[in-house]
């Protein structure tokens, strides 16, 4: 295992910014095509009417809200993980933090689109803003959707700051290495960074504050998302476990998303010297912990429902356990529990490939989990006469696909314009300089596990 240093770090990590191959354009066109298709689908949905989606009475939330919860879940990858790793001072975090934090920001941006996409009249979404209207009508602060609005905006603001702050020194590096227009752009972005001890100290303090502040925000965001369901008197929704269950699931899917992103970056940007198998190993262990925690929550939720034996709950329960939703349910259990526990639990499989396979399973499983929370309950709500089923139609499928492409597209673009590995943090880990780095961060080196 080699540890690149100094100038090589600069060269390796800035190379993707300065040299552009045809592959980059191909990827942008490829993912961009899907995104354009998604935008067309959304515009048609507004133009022709919401009816071109597959929703129907009484299942009024399905794919869009599933995607919403899913992407907000993915967003817990970054900020939360990177903030925790920062606070516990895990030295191995250094090459991982930025690609985690950027997942957060992009996944939040995509997730926050879905409340708009799913609105019957999206052009009136601004009514959720608590602005002083001439008729003195405020949003309904009792509504979990309004809480969502505030929670997501807070999280988006916080995580954007958390991403942008440590990018400043790296923008300065790019500024110093580039010429022409690029130099002028990065000069603005670097905000006059000179690398003085005072500036370093302020940056470190700001990062410490943000890391501490962002954790309660991240936990509360997904709890509030879970309130969208648990506040309504619907069988299998109205349960107190949803808060922690959703937060655990969010971190779980976030780690999976991060592992996939890391593997892709490592392969295509040739970052083998920076992202080592040990990073996958460590995050794989984290994935294993979260898989066990997720399994505990699901077992808990199901057992309590089964034992309580309420008629409305049991209808939904059996729908997922052995009736029409059973194939999806057991796929979810396999993907979310069996697969990651086997692959991540056995040391021999905890390789990069093993991590990626487990992560794809978890991504699929967690998407299904959200779908299975939403749809069977709405379709089997108390009165058997009004039971219903749901199947998606092209509008929903295209828009869902487009969001995954949008994530990839944003990631490709980001990696083009910003060093995807934090250069200064990596160097700080390599050459701890007491003058520049607070004592707490100086003692851990890349590759060592301090968790």
């Amino acid at each position: 295992m080699t540890h690149p240093t100094g100038a090589r770090i600069n060269n390796d990590l800035i190379r993707p910014l300065l040299l552009t191959s045809w592959r980059f354009y191909l990827l942008v066109v490829f993912f961009g095509g899907f995104v354009v298709a998604g935008v067309i689908a959304w515009i048609s949905q507004m133009y022709y009417g919401f009816g071109i989606a597959g929703l129907k009475w009484p299942i009024y939330w399905a794919f869009y809200v599933t995607n919403f919860v899913f992407w907000i879940g993915i967003s817990h990858a970054g900020t939360l993980i990177s903030a925790i790793l920062r606070l516990v001072n895990a030295g191995w975090r250094r090459p991982v933090t930025r690609c985690a934090e950027v997942i957060t920001v992009f996944a939040l941006m995509i997730g926050a689109l879905f409340p708009l996409i799913h609105l019957g009249r999206p052009w009136l979404a601004f009514w959720l803003f608590p602005y002083p209207s001439e008729r003195l009508i405020w949003p309904n602060f009792r509504s979990p959707l309004v809480w969502d609005f505030f929670a997501i905006n807070t999280y988006l603001t916080g995580s954007t700051l958390f991403l942008l702050l440590p990018m400043i020194p790296d923008f300065a590096v790019v500024r110093d290495k580039s010429t022409g227009l690029r130099h002028r752009i990065y000069r603005v972005l670097a905000l006059g960074w000179r690398g003085t001890p005072k500036q370093w100290h302020r940056l470190e303090s700001a990062m410490q504050i943000m890391a501490i502040a962002i954790i309660p925000v991240a936990v509360s965001v997904h709890t509030v998302v879970s309130f969208d369901f648990s506040m309504a008197p619907i069988p299998m929704w109205n349960t107190t476990i949803f808060g922690p269950y959703f937060v655990a699931g969010a971190i779980f899917s976030g780690i999976a998303g991060l592992l996939i992103a890391m593997a892709v970056l490592r392969k295509f940007l040739h970052l083998e010297d920076y992202i080592h198998p040990v990073h996958f190993e460590n995050l794989g262990k984290l994935l294993l912990v979260m898989a066990l925690l997720w399994g505990y929550f699901v077992f808990n939720e199901r057992l309590v429902t089964y034992y309580g034996n309420g008629p409305a709950e049991m209808t939904v329960f059996w729908q997922t356990q052995r009736e029409s939703f059973a194939p999806l349910y057991w796929t979810m259990v396999t993907c979310n529990f069996v697969l990651p526990v086997v692959l991540m639990g056995i040391r021999r499989f905890r390789t990069i490939a093993g991590c990626v396979i487990a992560s794809f399973g978890v991504i699929l499983g967690m998407w299904l989990e959200r779908f299975l929370i939403i749809v069977p309950s709405l379709g089997h709500k108390y009165l058997p006469y009004s039971f219903g089923s749901y199947s998606p139609r092209p509008a929903e499928i295209v828009i869902t696909g487009a969001t995954f492409a949008a994530m990839a597209l944003l990631y490709v673009l980001f990696a083009k314009f910003v060093p995807i590995i934090s250069i200064w943090e990596l160097k700080a880990g390599e050459h701890p300089s007491p003058a520049l780095i607070p004592p707490a961060t100086a003692e851990h080196r890349l590759g060592e596990l301090h968790l």
Binding site: G49, W57, W61, L119, G120, R121, L128, P139, L145, S386
Partner: protein, 227 residues
């Protein structure tokens, strides 16, 4: 202030569906067409639920007209982010179409599935488009609509009574469903007036509320079948 409510005598309901038709006509509920209806997009502010009991040939059919129950503790109201779904002073569960942005959260929270989303702009099979009710606003695509207890009739009766310097008499207001019910299974009136027919029926030992254990405190009382 009155507190409007309804009683539905299941002994009298024969499942004819006249209430459904009358409601469509009175409230300008758009017909969505056969294809959309088969897809589950039909909107019936009142529906007659049919339940079968026993095995053939010993089958008994039960009818239950289900409409918005105008719950006192309505689950649809707190969840609406824009106050489109809110409680009026006389206990009606009102839906302000112009304020609705179409989150459909209210429809999800409703235990009775009594709320309907407009998937398209309204249209009617000819010649139904010639019989729209001028007293009821049309609903555009993307909003949620539901039974209003024929609020236009309530308001008209109230204005009339005020003009004549008296209170609204029991039985003076009839929602379209109650008016068209041939067996008089549906009775509408003021629950706070102990003398009114609806309040007398609501106190009947045969009376019960639908899904009472959800805590929604519905204002429609169902009188159990005896026959």
């Amino acid at each position: 202030m009155p507190r409007w409510g309804m009683a539905a005598d299941l002994d009298r309901c024969n499942g004819c569906g006249a209430c459904v038709v009358a409601c469509h006509a009175e409230n300008n509920i758009s017909t969505v067409g056969a294809g959309e209806a088969a897809r589950g997009r039909a909107k019936h502010w009142i529906r007659v639920e049919r339940y079968w009991e026993g095995d053939f040939p010993d089958v008994r059919v039960k009818f239950r007209p289900v409409l918005c129950q105008h719950c006192d503790n309505a689950p649809c109201e707190p969840v609406c982010p824009t106050y489109a779904s809110h409680h009026t002073e006389d206990g009606l569960n009102a839906q302000v179409y112009n304020r609705c942005i179409g989150t459909r959260y209210c429809a999800n929270a409703c235990p009775y599935n009594a709320r309907f989303f407009d998937f398209f702009n309204p249209s009617w099979d000819k010649p139904l488009h010639l019989q729209l009710n001028p007293d009821v606003s049309l609903r555009m695509v993307g909003v949620v609509e539901k039974c209003t207890f024929c609020v236009q009739r309530i308001n008209a009766a109230r204005v009339q009574a005020k003009a004549e310097g008296r209170g609204v008499r029991d039985g003076e207001i009839q929602p379209a469903c109650a008016q068209s019910c041939p067996s008089r299974a549906l009775v509408f009136g003021d629950l706070d007036d102990p003398e009114s027919e609806v309040s007398r029926l609501s106190r009947s030992p045969r009376g019960s509320k639908l899904l009472e254990d959800t805590g929604a405190r519905p204002k429609v009382t169902y009188l159990a079948r005896q026959a």
